[in-house]
């Protein structure tokens, strides 16, 4: 089993978009993936689990991967946390309408 500790860096916490991205990425691997927060453990391939973790910005999460591609899974998922799910240094935590153009 591979164990990693990560911090939620994106400023809105694990809200809908990052949760969705996380689950989508995790589901591509065969390895089982669990997340523990404050003694509460959930299946990282379940969006319901991830969202109900209610992981706020700055929260510490323990990730556990087990299975043949556990290393790859761990690397990819930790990188997503590291990158703040593409939501780097912004002060915003409001999600409002669509931008001016489709990007």
């Amino acid at each position: 089993m591979i164990k990693r500790t990560v911090t939620v860096r994106n400023r809105a916490g694990l809200h809908t978009r990052p949760s969705s991205l996380l689950v989508k990425a995790a589901s591509r691997f065969k390895a089982d993936f669990f997340i523990e927060k404050d003694g509460f453990e959930i299946n990282g391939k379940s969006i319901i689990g991830v969202m109900t973790l209610a992981a706020e910005p700055g929260a510490t999460l323990y990730l556990m991967f087990e299975g043949e591609d556990a290393t790859e899974a761990a690397n990819e998922i930790c990188a997503m946390f590291e990158d703040g799910f593409g939501e780097e240094a912004m002060m915003t935590k409001v999600v409002t309408p669509k931008p001016l153009a489709s990007t």
């Binding site: 809200h15 978009r17 969006i47």
Partner: protein, 600 residues
């Protein structure tokens, strides 16, 4: 422009029995709708527990599976419509909802519940998802608490799907939809059923739903405190006045007739306005002003042409950031600005630097007791130089695609303007060194939305190329009224003579220094204000595109001289009430159809 809805519904109300009720709300999309109400609710599918016999269990599980498939299909469809109408960012929510429907944590639990409790699928879905909703609502984090709404939406969708009640199939044509909350996608779906009007409890003039309502030409209003869903009953005849924000429930025959007349007049007005399209915004004696658009979403770009906007007076660039939840790269910004400029050119597009703070965002980890007096606008930009720098680079680089202006938000002192100008100058040198092209003479202006700047407008006018007066904030700061605070909202009044005097002072100062002044607040879109703003010498009105025709119509119906006289008279009044009186006199005297439409 969507086709005008001129038909009359088949039925007529029985106006003899009920008592008429008139409620004041906030109009968010102009026009009148007269029709029976349809109460639209996402939260009330019936969910009684039914006890099943053992043999019924497998059938019930199949029912659940089918309902889940149907819900998924619906969500995918909504996602694609939403994406088409407002863009891919909005599709994320629906994608996550599809994931919830596919999540074994939910599907297995719901199936097990049916089996163990021998109960109906509705009850199982309710019990299973409600547990997660409860967990999320218990979170200490407000934003995550709000995400419980997505679970709620999924739950309601599955329950509806189980009862085979699709949202749309229940709505008859030609109804006024009354709801607590509507999404843009709801409006898109409703438009297929030719819904005539909308009343909602939640939202603002810049919400998705409002913009969509205006784009679709559906009159709409938001209740102000009273909850529409509670006061209106299904089937009640209602009148939606999207101008004044008035909702009439069970109108008397007299009211009905009055509004039918207004409706007819408005149709006529719209016809006349479409004839005005190709004519300039010019007074009877030849004084010309510019009518420009305020922009927030790409969905609004086609409206520029539709309403013949002469450029964009305000691009709210922060919306792009807020929507993405992250800083955009320089290249991403460039692409966005280029799209705007390509739609606007040969007219000018004014990009306001991202204006965060106030009611738009909570700077993380810092709870500000007075956000409107806090870290916002240019203050944030100067503290976040990398954000500022990448935006200036993107705007400069975009400036080769059409006439571009850059505008600085929430300025309070001259040092801020000079600091931004220095940054622009440095950026130009940088870009030139990299061999990148830009408009070296790009105009730079400021928002005048704080009393200190309005009072010292002479000084600021020497430093910049143009002013844009932001009346929402200016009014709030001049009158010391928090516009988001219900307790004092009725004291927020742009017609207060102090506000008007500051506006006049700003315009005069600008003109003395030979610079251009526009206005991009909501006041610019208020038809009552048109004669006096014109008379004060305002050069450009920047408004949501749908308001352009009516402002043009007023401008083309008076002389500049007349407008100046109105402005002079207004500026010596003692309070907002007497200001309104002066203005309404002009509308009254002129027997303009607008006078009958406007609630003064």
């Amino acid at each position: 422009m969507p086709p005008l809805k001129t038909h009359t519904p088949m039925e007529e109300p029985d106006t003899s029995k009920q008592t008429e009720q008139i409620l004041q709300g906030i109009g968010i999309s102009p026009g009148f709708a007269i029709a029976p109400a349809y109460l639209f609710s996402r939260t009330k599918p019936s969910l009684q527990r039914k006890q099943l016999s053992h043999e019924e269990i497998p059938t019930e599980q199949i029912r659940l599976d089918e309902a889940l498939e149907r819900a998924k299909y619906e969500l995918k469809k909504v996602a694609s419509v939403a994406e088409e109408k407002i863009g891919s960012e909005s599709a994320h929510i629906f994608e996550a909802q599809v994931q919830i429907l596919e999540d074994p944590v939910f599907t297995n639990a719901a199936n097990a519940f049916i089996l163990n409790e021998a109960c109906n699928a509705e009850y199982a879905v309710q019990m299973t998802l409600e547990r997660h909703i409860g967990q999320m609502e218990a979170s200490g984090n407000a934003y995550l608490r709000e995400r419980a709404q997505e679970f709620q939406d999924v739950k309601d969708r599955v329950l509806r799907s189980l009862q085979q009640k699709r949202l749309i199939s229940k709505i008859q044509q030609h109804r006024v939809v009354v709801a607590q909350n509507l999404t843009a996608a709801d409006l898109v779906l409703f438009s297929k059923r030719q819904v005539l009007g909308c009343v909602m409890d939640i939202g603002g003039t810049t919400s998705h739903a409002s913009i969509m309502a205006r784009a679709l030409g559906v009159p709409a209003l938001i209740s102000a405190g009273w909850q529409a869903e509670r006061v209106v009953e299904e089937g009640d005849w209602v009148i939606v006045d999207g101008f004044s924000g008035i909702l009439v429930i069970n109108p008397s025959p007299e009211t009905m007739q009055e509004y039918r007349l207004k409706q007819a007049q408005y149709s006529k007005l719209l016809e006349q306005q479409s004839e005005l399209k190709h004519l300039p915004a010019e007074t009877l004696d030849g004084h010309r002003v510019h009518l420009r658009a305020n922009l927030e979403f790409s969905a609004e770009l086609p409206q520029l042409m539709e309403y013949r906007a002469e450029g964009v007076g305000l691009v709210r660039t922060e919306m792009m950031y807020l929507a993405q939840g992250r800083a955009l790269t320089e290249e991403e910004q460039l692409a966005l600005y280029k799209e705007v400029l390509e739609a606007t050119s040969p007219f000018v597009a004014t990009f306001r630097l991202i204006d965060l703070g106030g009611d738009k965002v909570l700077p993380l980890g810092k709870h500000e007791p007075n956000p409107f007096l806090g870290w916002r606008g240019v203050r944030i930009l100067l503290d976040r130089q990398s954000l500022l720098r990448s935006q200036i680079r993107a705007i400069l680089r975009a400036s080769v695609y059409g006439p571009t202006r850059l505008m600085i938000p929430m300025v309070t002192n001259i040092g801020e303007v000079r600091a931004i100008k220095r940054m622009i100058a440095r950026t130009k040198i940088e870009l030139a060194a990299e061999g990148k092209t830009f408009d070296s003479k790009m105009q730079v202006g400021i928002m005048v939305e704080v009393p200190s700047v309005a009072l010292m407008a002479d000084l600021f006018a020497e430093e910049v190329d143009f002013f844009s007066i932001g009346t929402n904030d200016l009014t709030q700061y001049v009158l010391a009224v928090d516009r988001g605070n219900d307790l004092v909202a009725n004291r927020f009044d742009e017609m207060h003579p102090a506000v008007l005097q500051l506006i006049a002072h700003t315009i005069q100062a600008a003109h003395r220094k030979g610079i251009f002044v526009g206005m991009c607040g909501e006041f610019a879109a208020n038809p009552l204000a048109t004669p006096l703003l014109l008379g004060m010498g305002l050069d450009a009105f920047s408004v949501s595109p749908v308001f352009i025709p009516q402002i043009k119509r007023i401008i083309r119906n008076l002389t500049y001289q007349e407008a100046k006289e109105i402005a002079e008279r207004v500026l010596i009044q003692q309070d907002a009430r007497s200001v309104r009186k002066v203005v309404s006199e002009w509308f009254g005297q002129n027997q303009d159809i607008l006078a009958s439409l406007m609630k003064i």
